[in-house]
Point group: C2
Chain length 204, copies 2
């Protein structure tokens, strides 16, 4: 957690630092990201950086926390509160749409999360031995779908939770390949959902 000195900073300066950090961590995995670049881009001296944070990891963890909170509030906002109104596939659609919208509005945050996920050691250090958050999330969702009788009972939900989480990342990957994909084009997400629905749905 950053030191008090950081939180005492005028908001404008704090923002500059966070923005600089996002830029660097969005383009470099943790170990390659440079504190010097962050400090320079934020317009603070190297010494100041260590006035505000214990070390590079301190800032990084804080950033991850900010991102996680932001994303959670996204998903929670329109999804969870509708949980009892929507059927399973509608909920699933909402989850993917939330992710998609989040990606559109915060394009620089996604690569940060992806890179963390690829550094198992660091991931474990931050989240402990917790199961991957997003897998856990999909597992819950699938259990709800099973209870509703929407899902083919032949499926092992633990396996499928991981598959769905993986597909969510594929979706993000599409979006990240900047330029090539028109973010207003819902085709990708529709295709993916069509595929998933056919794949999971209980046969009559």
């Amino acid at each position: 957690m950053p030191k008090d000195t950081f939180f005492n900073l005028p908001e404008e300066k704090r923002k500059r630092i966070i923005e600089a950090a996002i830029d660097e961590f969005a383009t470099h995995p943790f170990h390659q990201a440079r504190v010097t670049v962050i400090a320079e881009q934020a317009g603070i001296a190297m010494g100041s950086f260590y006035q505000y944070f214990e070390d590079k990891k301190d800032l990084y963890k804080y950033l991850i926390q900010l991102i996680a909170e932001k994303k959670l509030s996204y998903i929670n906002s329109d999804m969870v509160k509708n949980k009892d109104k929507y059927d399973f596939f509608r909920l699933l659609r909402e989850v993917y749409l939330s992710g998609f919208r989040f990606a559109k509005e915060n394009p620089r945050l996604l690569p940060i999360g992806l890179m963390l996920l690829n550094d198992k050691e660091l991931y474990r250090e931050i989240y402990g031995e917790h199961e991957d958050l997003s897998v856990g999330f999909f597992l819950q969702l699938l259990e709800y779908g099973k209870a509703q009788g929407a899902i083919d009972p032949a499926f092992d939900l633990k396996i499928m939770a991981k598959v769905l989480a993986g597909m969510n990342f594929s979706l993000i990957d599409f979006i990240i390949e900047d330029g090539k994909i028109d973010l207003d084009d819902m085709e990708i997400i529709n295709q993916m959902l069509y595929f998933i629905e056919n794949g999971l749905r209980k046969k009559k």
Copy 2:
């Protein structure tokens, strides 16, 4: 490409170096992998390393090439030669099975490829602007399936190729999480294929 000195080495020594490299690159992404560790584990002096290779990247690229060749020969072996006998879904099954078998027999090679895929810059340096090899592979396969009339025509094959490639990685991810997964247990792969087949198949 390694220098002649490397290829002149007695096979035993060459193997020791490659094995040491596999160990290091399987547990560390390129930029974190240490030449010192590789040299030490192979039982050669640091200087010798630079007698054999231009630099760290030289060895790395060579290793990637070895792995790609090995994997290609795997997939080609029983898949491509049966292309005209099998229907699309059978072929797809063979592809996943090949990947699965390869993973079983070469567990240390998989993380190396995964980590490369996550380092877009390095990936581009090695493969140029080529589309991801495995996406291209699945695209071809899907086009074959479409020609056969096996696939729901509503799908955009480019999108689905990427989805399938992504799922292939999920599968590998399962396998890598060592210990937890019994490699003789075909359940994961069966579940995944069942899901994919339902998802893609043309409705009557």
